[in-house]
């Protein structure tokens, strides 16, 4: 009896979320900018992650062409201030930058979902403690902490990811919190509750799947923010350090060449802007697609 109820409920959930997903993609397709952004991002990631296998030049190796060579067949974007292939560096740098963005996003999703879901689901003390912490973190200009933390603790990639994640999970927690509150009231959750299922199980099995779309939206926007933060801390010399290229540190390094070789700065800057723009458009599009109020007639 109990088992059958559960399977019924879970299949119902599956159907429901499937429908939602379908309609989500469908609605997203209506928003041309967001839809284009989605495709653009797919292409961008493919280029950045697969590109280095095709363009196998070592991004750290000094080329025979020398420093600041202009574009040629051998070096499509020329060489940088030390004589390294800019194209290879853009590909490898993009890899690192996007990976940092993704990793920071995943990590902050983890924190944010945990905090938000627990607060919303368990209520009472958990709720007030978790949500007060979230509010407090939101109220603090966290860039000051990012700065102090990275200055004193060093700038390994892991540290950069952790620090960015720790400074950006609050928005997600709030969204998840609100959604959890909403879904907690639904019949199938209450039914599961009544049937004596464990809280953790209800949370992971019934509630979290429902809020995945909102999490995707927040995640998309968080990647955008994380990439921007990475480039900002790189600007202050606190990001991932050379010789590992990232768009952020390439941009930072190019600053000194702003007079003599502005192209070195324009490329990574434009790459960051375009990637962030695409993630933001996609996130906005997804949010609009999810929000019934904003559905176009």
């Amino acid at each position: 009896m109990e088992a059958s109820t559960q399977s019924n409920v879970s299949s119902g959930v599956a159907v429901q979320s499937n429908k939602r997903k379908n309609s989500l993609l469908h609605r997203l397709r209506q928003n041309k900018v967001a839809y284009f952004s989605l495709w653009f991002l797919i292409v961008l990631h493919a280029v950045v992650f697969l590109g280095p296998f095709v363009w196998s030049m070592n991004p750290e190796e000094l080329q025979d062409a020398g420093a600041l060579a202009s574009w040629s067949l051998q070096h499509p974007f020329g060489t940088d201030d030390l004589g390294r292939d800019v194209f290879a560096r853009m590909l490898h740098g993009g890899r690192v930058t996007l990976l940092v963005g993704l990793a920071a996003m995943l990590f902050s999703l983890l924190i944010g979902t945990f905090v938000g879901a627990c607060a919303g689901f368990f209520g009472k003390v958990v709720e007030s403690v978790f949500m007060r912490i979230t509010e407090a973190m939101m109220a603090i200009p966290n860039f000051f902490f990012v700065l102090v933390a990275l200055t004193v603790l060093g700038t390994s990639p892991i540290m950069v990811i952790v620090v960015i994640a720790l400074s950006s999970w609050m928005e997600i927690a709030r969204v998840v919190y609100g959604e959890t509150l909403r879904w907690k009231e639904y019949e199938f959750v209450e039914a599961a509750n009544a049937s004596g299922a464990k809280s953790i199980r209800i949370l992971t099995k019934y509630i979290i799947p429902q809020i995945i779309p909102s999490i995707i939206v927040s995640g998309t926007l968080t990647i955008a923010a994380a990439i921007l933060t990475e480039s900002a801390i790189s600007y202050l010399g606190l990001g991932i350090q050379p010789p590992t290229p990232t768009w952020g540190n390439m941009l930072q390094n190019s600053q000194q060449y702003i007079w003599t070789a502005p192209v070195l700065g324009i490329l990574p800057g434009a790459a960051i802007t375009i990637a962030v723009l695409a993630y933001n458009f996609l996130g906005d599009g997804l949010r609009d697609a999810l929000d019934p109020r904003f559905v176009k007639k």
């Binding site: 200009p141 860039f143 700065l147 004193v152 955008a224 900002a232 802007t273 723009l277 906005d284 109020r293």
Partner: protein, 315 residues
Amino acid sequence: MLRFLLNRLGQSVVLLLIVTVITFFLINLAPGGPASTMRMEASPEERQAMIEKLGLDQPIYVRYIDWITNAVQGDLGISFTSSEPVIQRIIERLPYTIELTVFTIIISVIIGILLGVLSAIKRGKAQDHMINFMSVIGLSVPAFWLGLMLILLFSITLGWLPSSGVGSRGADFDLWGWVSHLILPVLILTTTVLPNIVRFTRSSMLEVISQNYIRTVRAKGAKESIVLYVHALRNALIPVVTIIGVLIPRLLSGAVITEAIFGWTGIGTLIIEAARGRDYPLVMGVTVMITIVVVVCNLFVDLVYSRIDPRVKNV
């Protein structure tokens, strides 16, 4: 009302305390304390002398207790790097950040509300799309890259605006010198907050427009412009007040980068100097000061909001 206020105040104090503990222990984790900031040439004895002089040979919890005891009495200590009181160093720099942020708030609130309302009224039309598009771009461009490009254009190529600095403030103050130094930093900082205000105003306005009383006013045959600007906007602006609370931390974070780009000698550059120089008292001082500013702003917003919307009191 009083209970609400006390409750909030209590929370703020706890928050402040937590922030100081985290920051204090964080900076003290750093490999190489202030003694590593000395010249490479400094001998081990010189470094040891420095450590003892600054009392860094004490256990960390003793130092924290010392620090917090003094801080509660309003004494934030002496800066390691300049031997001046931390308070004094902050007071020297604070006006510049205030100047920058106040101009930014004024400009971005005015422009942001105008664009937000416009966007809401023209919902779904070209203007709305345009404004929305520009907002996303504003949110997506790395501030320092934009700053660099503007410097390239206005300072290097055209030579119209200074690329850095705060202008002279002393006897040889001149208005244009002041304004010209402000333009680019305020512009950059504005782009980091403007999109938020636009979006917030837009959704707030949309919500109000869809409400019943607006329909009633409209049905009574009032002029559309009166409906929008008198009835709708007035009510839509109420929640916009709250965004100031969200804006302040964002603004201060943005100020760090903006100040770094333009050599603006405010709190942002001060915290960078302090962290790099391992000036523990100064890092603590700036952190406390920033947190207090933010807490006070939030308290103020809460207060204003609770007067507008009595339901909040029970939170």
